[in-house]
Amino acid sequence: MSNAIPTVRCRAAVGSTRCHLDPASDPMSMWRSKPKTRFRRLVVRHPTPDTAAVSASEIEEGILHILEISELRKVGIWSDAGGMRAFDLQCPHMGADLSEGWIDDDTRLHCPWHGYLFSPRDGSLTSNPNVGPMRVARERSPEFDPELAPRCRLRMLPLDRVGDDLHIRVRP
């Protein structure tokens, strides 16, 4: 199995069909709901290999700040009246990059793959919006129990104030 950039290698001639995911080129985009995004990317420093640091003055309330640790790993910082928290931006459900999701007006972080909703305040899974629309087929079977809720929550990370900086321990 190749780890190269994902491409669909077409054997069939597909004429002038081009594969691109640019919503601006989508003639139906005006019909489709547009997610609200309140994200900001920050430049991250590493005072030690286990620590990510950013300036505390860069953190604003109501914005999810994104720190890129590696290609696969991002960390989020959320601040509001309840305080400041840091957490992994990997969805604990299936592994989506939550920095590609969005935050709604009720301060819920939406996963871009399955729409699961997480609280950036404590990392809890607040709801699975798919339950209602799929009710008809969500019947108990040997392999599926509709009463079981997924036990997943965002992985919260220790965050310390060091002078004017915030230090996040990115490795246990």
Partner: protein, 188 residues
């Protein structure tokens, strides 16, 4: 008049991963939200479901529903497309679409093949636009597959060969899950 065509290409994942992604109903209105903001199961039995994909513009919620039939282990047939709401002018009042999707392994090259066979039943006066319709359907399939492959690739990088484990958890809903488990659940 019937117009038939096929779209065949390599799919950069195992057959089990391709089938799991197809049956992962919860991802359609999020990862593939560009194509339908809402995804709803209207009817279901052991082998068939009627599924509606729709989106909203103000008070109007428009889309279409169709029947999806799973033929294990890796074949999906879609037909009986109906516009929603029924009074809304739609191409589905004029054209009947039947698709037959299969995933299988090319043993010689050890790659997964996606083969989509499409049959359009259209009135004679729409015959001149058949190739335009074909290109739109091909583009839709390729774009969705690209999104799925990107998801599967990330999951492989994170979880190695355990990409099916999350789908098979007791709390995780997927279409036709018992049949999927029967064919692809060995060792998970």
């Amino acid at each position: 008049m019937k117009y038939r065509f096929s779209l065949v290409y390599d799919f950069d994942a195992t057959v089990a991963e391709a089938v799991a992604a197809y049956l992962d109903a919860e991802h359609y209105s999020y990862l593939h939200r560009k194509y339908a903001a809402d995804y709803e199961i209207l009817e279901a039995d052991e082998h068939r479901m009627r599924i509606r994909g729709s989106w909203s513009l103000g008070w109007l919620r428009a889309g279409h529903s169709n029947v999806v039939e799973y033929v294990p282990p890796a074949r999906f047939i879609q037909y009986a497309t109906r516009p929603h709401p029924a009074w809304l002018p739609s191409i589905h009042h004029l054209i009947a679409v039947r698709t037959d999707l299969r995933y299988f392994t090319d043993e010689a090259r050890q790659v997964t093949i996606s083969q989509l066979d499409v049959e359009l039943d259209l009135p004679f006066w729409l015959w001149p636009v058949r190739k335009l319709l074909r290109r739109q359907l091909e583009r839709l399939k390729i774009e969705k597959d690209e999104e799925d492959i990107a998801m599967l690739r990330r999951r492989r990088m994170l979880f190695g060969d355990s990409t099916l484990k999350a789908y098979l958890a007791r709390h995780q809903f997927m279409l036709f899950k018992d049949q999927f488990r029967e064919h692809f659940g060995g060792g998970n």
